[in-house]
C-alpha cells in the first residue's frame, strides 16, 4: 500500500483494540502483521497461521531465523509457550468450525453490505484465493484494514463491488486511515474518525451512503 508507516501503524493500533484476552486471531499480510506490536504484553492471544501454527510469536532477530518456522506468507516467526504445529487440514478445520475468533485482512474493495473483494484484479492479477475465502466466510469476526481510496483515488468502500467477490456479506468492521466503519445487518455505519479528518471528508471518499450514528468517536492517536 502507498501509505506511510505512521498511518499504517495507526490503523494497526486501532485494529488491536478489537482483540480480547484468550482470542484466536488470524492476521493477513501487510498492515495486519503490524497489529501484535500494539497489544498489552500481558494479553493472551493465540495467533493462527494457515500453514499449521497456533501460537505464533514475534519475528525472530536477524540471524535467529528458522527456515522451518514461518508464517503463511513464508516469513520467519517464533512460537509462544502453549503453541502447536499441525497440518493444513487441521488449520482450516479450526477456521471452518468457528474456532478463529477474529481475522484481520487487507482488501481491494468492500461493499456497504460487507461483501469482500480481495483476491482478483481481472486481467491484471490473479494470485489465487489462498485461505481468504475460508477466513472471510467462517471467522467469527472479519475486520478489513485498507486505504480509504485506491491509487487512482477511487473509494474502496462501495455500494456494490466491481471486483470479483471473495465472500459475500462477511465483513464486520473496516478500518482505514480516515475512519472506522461498522457493518451491521447489511448497513454501513461510520463509527469513529481519525484526527484530523471530518465526516465530510469521509463521505466524499466513500463510494456509497454512510449511516451516521448520534455519536462518532474521535480517535486521538
Amino acid at each position: 500500500m502507498g501509505m506511510g508507516i505512521e498511518l499504517r501503524n495507526r490503523i494497526a493500533r486501532r485494529a488491536s483494540d478489537e482483540i480480547r484476552n484468550g482470542m484466536v486471531v488470524n492476521l493477513g499480510i501487510g498492515i495486519p502483521s503490524l497489529v501484535p506490536e500494539f497489544l498489552p504484553t500481558d494479553m493472551r492471544v493465540m495467533f493462527h497461521a494457515e500453514n499449521g501454527i497456533l501460537g505464533m510469536g514475534p519475528s525472530p532477530a536477524v540471524g535467529e531465523e528458522d527456515e522451518n518456522l514461518c508464517n503463511a506468507g513464508g516469513f520467519p516467526v517464533t512460537l509462544i509457550p502453549g503453541g502447536s504445529y499441525f497440518d493444513s487440514s487441521l488449520a482450516f478445520g479450526m477456521i471452518r468450525c468457528g474456532k478463529v475468533d477474529l481475522t484481520i485482512l487487507g482488501s481491494l474493495q468492500v461493499s456497504e453490505k460487507g461483501d469482500l473483494a480481495n483476491w482478483i484484479v481481472p486481467g491484471k492479477k490473479v494470485p489465487g484465493m489462498g485461505g481468504a475465502m475460508e477466513l472471510a466466510q467462517k471467522a467469527k469476526k472479519v475486520i478489513v484494514v485498507m486505504n480509504q481510496c485506491d491509487k487512482a483515488g477511487n473509494p474502496k468502500i462501495v455500494s456494490s463491488c466491481t471486483l470479483p467477490l471473495t465472500s459475500a456479506e462477511c465483513v464486520d468492521l473496516i478500518i482505514t486511515e480516515l475512519a472506522v466503519f461498522e457493518i451491521k445487518k447489511g448497513k454501513l455505519w461510520l463509527k469513529e474518525l481519525f484526527a484530523p479528518y471530518d465526516i465530510q471528508t469521509v463521505i466524499e471518499r466513500t463510494g456509497c451512503g454512510i449511516n451516521l450514528p448520534e455519536q462518532i468517536r474521535k480517535i486521538a492517536y
Binding site: V126, G128, G130
Partner: protein, 232 residues
C-alpha cells in the same frame, strides 16, 4: 543402515517414477517443507507436461516454483500462485492451466484422496463462480453445498525431518504443513528426509505419518535455495 523394508533408496533409484504427463503432488507451503533434492532431480530429468498439485507454486527459485518457472507444468491445482510471478505469466499467456481451490478445501481434497474418500461437501466458495464453476452441487437439509472431489497423484513427494526404515515420518515445525496429507495421496510416495534412523528410534507417539503411506525414503542434502527473507 538397516533397510528391512527396502524403502531406503538412492535418488537415482526413484527417478524412473517421474515421466511426462504425470500427476505429481508435492508437500510444502511457500516452499517451506518442499523436498529440494527431488525437485532438482525432476528438473534435471527434464520431464514435462506435468500436472502439479500442491498448496502454491512457491517462488520462482524456491520449492516447486523451480519446476513451474521452467514451464514444465501443463496444469497446476493450487490455492495460490501470487508469490511466483512466472506462474501468473504462464497462466495469462495460456501456457499453463491453473485450477484454484480454496486452501483448506484443497487440503481436504488431498486428504480425501489419501484416505479413500471420493469427495467431501462444503459451502466454501459456493457463491464464487471461479470456485463453483463446473462442480456438482448437493442439497442437504435445505442448504446447497459444493461437491469437492478427492485429489490423488501418480507420485507424491514430501519433505520431512526424520524417517525410520519403515518410512514413519516426523516433520519440523511449520514445515509439516501439507506434507502429512500429500504423503497419503500418492500411488507412490517418496519422502526426502533430513535424517534416516533405524526402526525403534522414533517415539511412536510423535510419528505423524505412519510408514505404511511411504514407499521410498531418500536422504536429503537440505534446502539449497535462498529464502525470500534472506538478505543478499
Amino acid at each position: 543402515m538397516e533397510n528391512l523394508f527396502g524403502k531406503i533408496a538412492e535418488v537415482d533409484q526413484v527417478m524412473s517414477f517421474f515421466h511426462d504427463n504425470m500427476v505429481l503432488m508435492f508437500g510444502g507451503f511457500g516452499g517451506v517443507g518442499s523436498p529440494p533434492l527431488l525437485i532438482d532431480e525432476i528438473l534435471e530429468k527434464g520431464v514435462k507436461d506435468l500436472t502439479l498439485i500442491g498448496n502454491d507454486t512457491g517462488f520462482p527459485h524456491i520449492g516447486i516454483g523451480r519446476i513451474v518457472s521452467q514451464g514444465r507444468a501443463k496444469k497446476v491445482i493450487a490455492s495460490h500462485i501470487g508469490s511466483n510471478p512466472i506462474a501468473g505469466k504462464l497462466m495469462t499467456e495460456g501456457k499453463m492451466e491453473v485450477e484454484f481451490s480454496p486452501q483448506g478445501i484443497l487440503a481436504e481434497r488431498i486428504r480425501a484422496g489419501g484416505t479413500g474418500l471420493p469427495a467431501i461437501l462444503t459451502d466454501i466458495g459456493l457463491d464464487n463462480e471461479m470456485v463453483s464453476n463446473g462442480k456438482s452441487q448437493f442439497e442437504l437439509n435445505g442448504k446447497k453445498y459444493l461437491v469437492e472431489t478427492a485429489l490423488k497423484a501418480d507420485v507424491a513427494i514430501v519433505y520431512a525431518k526424520k524417517a525410520d526404515s519403515f518410512g514413519n515420518l516426523v516433520y519440523d515445525k511449520s514445515a509439516r504443513n501439507t506434507n502429512p496429507l500429500v504423503a497419503m495421496a500418492g500411488a507412490i510416495t517418496i519422502a526426502e528426509v533430513e535424517e534416516i534412523v533405524p526402526v525403534g528410534y522414533l517415539d511412536p507417539e510423535e510419528i505423524v505419518t505412519p510408514g505404511v503411506f511411504v514407499d521410498y525414503v531418500i536422504q536429503s542434502g537440505g534446502v539449497n535455495w535462498k529464502w525470500a527473507w534472506e538478505s543478499n
